[in-house]
Symmetry: C2
Subunit: 193 residues, 2 copies
């Protein structure tokens, strides 16, 4: 796995504290970021300060390549949502990795394809579907890595920031879905049935 490869090749992780900004919009990309431990959120923020969550990245994932590869400045903030160890791989080293390891290159293509899938799905939702449908789709998507009768580790605010809705709306819809037995609520937590 890639992180191990990097550590074996003497790349050192940097420490980011919860809340630290890793990069911000407008900055010129110089590196790709591999998460050894921790979690980050990638968000765009509009003029009113409203956040939209473009993605959440956790241990063993990486982020920041698209901007680097197309040589455009970042669109989003990336912020550590908990203390994290992140290996910052300089652009040139990343390109070398791609060149020298076709299997990694292939993996990257698949990763990018997955992200495109998610974004296409959400675009369709935001463009055409009403609040309830959006939340249903989003929850179904998030439930896919959650066991039965386990909880979703996501707040209503985060669901709002992923779906383009407001917290109050999300809260009302979750309640409704719970009434319709599509999910369970346990002390506020959303539980997969």
């Amino acid at each position: 796995m890639t992180i191990k490869y990097l550590l074996d090749n003497n790349f050192k992780p940097s420490l980011y504290k919860k809340g630290d900004v890793i990069y911000e919009p407008g900055a010129y990309p110089r590196a790709v970021y591999f998460i050894k431990s921790g979690k980050v959120r990638m968000v765009t923020v509009n003029d009113d300060g409203k956040e939209f969550i473009q993605g959440i990245f956790k241990a063993n994932e990486y982020f920041g390549e698209p901007a680097l590869l197309v040589n455009k400045s970042y669109l989003a903030y990336t912020i550590a949502t908990q203390d994290s160890e992140i290996i910052v791989v300089k652009g040139e080293d990343f390109l070398k990795m791609l060149k020298e390891h076709p299997d990694f290159s292939m993996k990257l293509i698949q990763t990018l394809s997955h992200r495109l899938f998610y974004k296409s799905m959400m675009l369709e939702e935001l463009a055409n579907e009403h609040a309830e449908h959006r939340i249903r789709t989003l929850i179904a998507y998030l439930f896919k890595d959650v066991e039965h009768s386990q909880e979703l580790k996501v707040t209503r605010q985060q669901l709002a920031d992923m779906s383009g809705l407001r917290v109050e709306t999300v809260i009302r819809i979750i309640k409704k879905l719970s009434d319709q037995k599509e999910l369970k609520l346990l002390r506020g937590k959303i539980i997969r049935i």
Copy 2:
């Protein structure tokens, strides 16, 4: 360029007539589609029949790889918007191309990165911005390959289908932008100032 490579290697284009459906949602991906000539639109359609334009592809571009590479069925329809010659490259052949031509692999990574950029930008718009802002951003994006005082070859309906708005709303906003001299209207056509 890739199309030339394919033709030189004896891949033959298929003909699709205007309106022909190249693939549809749910179908299992078996190929990647290279456009020799013509144009296609990729659209998702919701239960009410409302379309959302996920992308427009023209000569020398290709489409359909993400679904193939992550091995998931298609989300969208792809429809020829004019008579088109399209080289249908079977999955295995496409994978072979990727393996044998690292430069192509690199190009693909960049292409996917570009598409991600566009989708991230539009997600932010659909999630957080009002109609006028969305249309401004979208038009600015489309104007980037349009000369000064040249027209945008896009209808109001298409702008609506790319922005998640309704035609009437787009028409009203375009009119307003024209009043504000942000663009010119010539017999209905949108002209870059």
